[in-house]
């Protein structure tokens, strides 16, 4: 469908909707904000956290906004239709909350130049498309510190989802932080090739635990690994995406929470005061996007203090989890002494750092 003919077919509807492309939002007309989620809002992980962000917008602005969402949207043509549906319904700000929605967002954004789109974790932008993501690896550094201190077998297990930069950042950050406090640490990685599959995640957890791992990190969203660790008894875990506090104090000793609420509230506010602009946001602990869940009593007090100190230092920018001298797994140089990794370097990280003995997927 080319843009011109599309506009022809929808021109009438825009008139009917009465919104047209008027730049101003009449004081009594609420700003309509739409969301699409890749999973159900009840997944207690990824989509759930995004929906918490949507609720935060409603709480912050009350009658001035009106939000709606479509959940369980498959990536591909269905996403494109769902996004178009949101735009046709008069939503002026639309959040597409999964990486796989990227090309669909770009296609729909071209057809609705007066609607602003926000795409999570992607890299394609336009005048009306902004992207946002969180520095989850900062949370991994804290998990690595706790894990490195608490492990008795010196083996940390990592259930990886897909071989993409975000996951490599997580594995490497956890390893580097753990190695700093425990030079004998060994990283075991299992690639599950899923974001959410309780059965596969449980298998991966069982395999790692059988391999002697007593600190289990997961980059997948279900609580199945937590349950496996609980069965084993002497294994600690960390909540992923959401707090997973029902597994505290053991095995879940802390968590990394994706907290989109501050960003969503800010962007909705920018829409209302007219300051919205397309930009790439990559927020971390400092912006509140990455939140560290309560560290439980199973963690010794001095380790807890060390972890919280690291959190503060990363938040203030004093410490960067990727600071040189640092080599890649194959021995080639990555960062010089004292050099901190740039966002660009991190965005193209598809390798293990030196010291990880696992083999990266081809």
């Amino acid at each position: 469908m080319n843009r011109r003919s599309f506009l022809k077919t929808t021109a009438a509807t825009a008139v009917v909707a009465g919104a047209g492309s008027l730049p101003a939002f009449a004081a009594d007309e609420p700003l309509k904000i739409g969301f699409i989620y890749v999973g159900p809002v009840g997944d207690m992980g990824w989509s759930y956290q995004h929906d918490q962000g949507r609720k935060a917008i409603e709480e912050a602005y009350g009658d001035k906004v009106q939000t709606s969402f479509i959940e369980n949207v498959p990536e591909g043509p269905d996403a494109e239709r769902a996004l178009t549906q949101l735009a046709l319904e008069g939503n002026k700000l639309i959040f597409a909350t999964s990486f796989g929605f990227m090309d669909a967002v770009m296609n729909v954004a071209k057809k609705f130049p007066d609607v602003k789109f926000e795409h999570a974790t992607g890299y394609k932008r336009a005048d009306n498309v902004a992207t946002y993501d969180a520095k989850f690896f900062q949370g991994r550094a804290i998990q690595g510190t706790i894990g490195g201190r608490m492990t008795k077998t010196n083996k940390i297990g990592y259930i990886a989802s897909f071989p993409i930069p975000e996951v490599y950042q997580g594995i490497n950050a956890a390893f580097l932080a753990a190695k700093k406090v425990n030079p004998d640490i060994e990283m075991k990685v299992v690639w599950a090739y899923t974001w959410f599959d309780p059965a596969k995640e449980a298998d991966a957890a069982a395999a790692l635990i059988a391999d002697g791992v007593d600190v289990l990190l997961q980059h997948t969203d279900s609580t199945a690994p937590q349950a496996k660790a609980q069965e084993a008894g002497n294994v600690i875990t960390f909540g992923q995406a959401s707090d997973m506090s029902s597994f505290a104090p053991m095995p879940r000793v802390s968590s990394t929470i994706d907290n989109w609420a501050p960003y969503y509230v800010k962007r909705a506010g920018a829409m209302m005061d007219g300051s919205w602009a397309s930009e790439a946001t990559w927020g971390g602990i400092d912006t509140g996007m990455v939140e560290i869940g309560e560290i439980s009593d199973a963690v010794p007090a001095e380790v807890k203090a060390e972890a919280l100190q690291l959190k503060d230092d990363i938040g203030s920018g004093k410490v960067h989890p990727f600071t040189g001298p640092l080599n890649k797994q194959d021995g080639s140089a990555f960062l010089a002494d004292g050099e901190m990794a740039t966002d660009e370097q991190l965005h193209s990280m598809t390798f293990y750092v030196e010291g990880i003995t696992a083999e990266a997927p081809k």
């Binding site: 077919t9 479509i70 591909g76 897909f162």
Partner: protein
């Protein structure tokens, strides 16, 4: 006391009436479900069934209806032929994936060379991919007597893993910053299955689905092969006496179903989806089974059933958006459709008698 009495011959009336009764029963039961969820039942049904066709933005949604129904109809038309013969291909989802992979592989290999031959060749490869994948259960059944139901279903999972491997490995977009997924074929003119008439949603896959409906109608109702297939399904022994060779029938039915599913995958990956990604398949191969039965395994019925099923998807999204219905409620609603269809199907072969049993 209510008893079921087998009819001497299946009721013609009920054969055609059950889908309609099932749809009405689904609307009623769905309405009750929506009411329990605190939504106005009539409004919910109207949003799902009426708004996409005649609502404010119907111009857009009618086109999307065809985009969604196209692959469902194409796959179901192929499956129905096998189902008529009692050959159960449950693995159309896998054949759909393989059709997409075969054709996308070629396009991504020769990118960015432009050629008029590319798209037709991709169509052939798409059909071939589905065909070959379906021949695995066919040959195993013919040679070793394995169940085509199990083998074709299991091969779906094999195909899904192959799809994931391809989208993270060999077919990954080299300019995608390490993210999964291939190049978008929508940006590659020679390979792009674009809309034929802008704004209508009609692409080559929709056209092919219509051609498939006509072709299978002729095959099943105007051709000796169709007669043999129907006899084989209804009276296998008689079919054997009439000279039907079961092995050939198995290979023909599974192969054809696979080729159709492969074509559907090819048109989807080169058009609406555009990309090979690990989430490329969204269940068309399984939903097509419902479509085939809802359409009474008859080509025209499948055409209508495919459109109806597509309508529940699009209207379902609309109901989420406008009424805040959870997507699980929509899925229950879609499931009820098949449930009621099967339940009322009893009336085709049985009649209900009130009174004492065995009287």
């Amino acid at each position: 006391m209510i008893t079921l009495v087998r009819r001497p011959t299946p009721s013609k009336l009920w054969t055609y009436a059950t889908p309609i009764v099932a749809v009405i029963a689904t609307m009623i039961a769905g309405g009750i479900l929506f009411a329990v969820l605190g939504k106005h039942p009539v409004e919910a049904i109207r949003v799902i069934f009426w708004d996409p066709l005649f609502g404010a933005n119907a111009g857009y949604f009618r086109g999307q209806l065809l985009v969604k129904a196209g692959p469902l109809i194409l796959i179901a038309a192929g499956l129905a032929i096998g189902f008529r013969a009692g050959i159960w291909n449950i693995g159309a989802e896998g054949q759909y994936i393989m059709g997409a992979l075969f054709s996308a592989w070629l396009a991504l290999k020769i990118y960015p060379a432009e050629s008029h031959w590319l798209f037709p060749t991709m169509i052939v490869l798409g059909a071939l991919g589905g065909l070959l994948w379906a021949l695995i259960p066919a040959l195993l059944k013919v040679l070793f007597g394995t169940s085509e139901i199990l083998v074709s279903l299991m091969l779906v999972y094999v195909a899904e893993n192959l799809l994931a491997y391809m989208s993270f490995g060999p077919l990954k977009n080299p300019e995608g910053y390490g993210f999964p997924g291939s190049r978008n074929l929508q940006d590659y003119p020679s390979a792009y299955n674009a809309e034929l008439f802008a704004g209508t949603g009609i692409h080559w896959g929709v056209v092919t689905a219509l051609v498939a409906v006509i072709a299978t109608y002729i095959l099943m109702h105007r051709h000796i092969t169709g007669f043999r297939i129907r006899v084989a399904g209804e009276a296998p022994r008689a079919a054997r006496f009439a000279g039907v060779i079961p092995a050939r029938l198995v290979i023909f039915c599974l192969g054809l179903g696979g080729a159709f599913a492969g074509l559907a995958g090819m048109f989807e990956v080169s058009g609406p989806a555009g990309q090979v990604t690990d989430s490329f398949n969204v269940g068309y191969g399984f939903t097509a089974i419902i479509v085939a039965f809802l359409g009474r395994l008859h080509p025209i019925g499948i055409l209508l059933a495919g459109l109806l099923m597509a309508l529940t998807y699009i209207g379902g999204d609309m109901a989420q958006l406008v009424l805040g219905l959870p997507s699980a409620a929509i899925q229950v609603f879609q499931g009820m459709l098949l449930f009621f269809l099967l339940a009322f199907d009893v009336l085709t072969n049985f009649r209900i008698r009130f009174g004492r049993a065995g009287a």
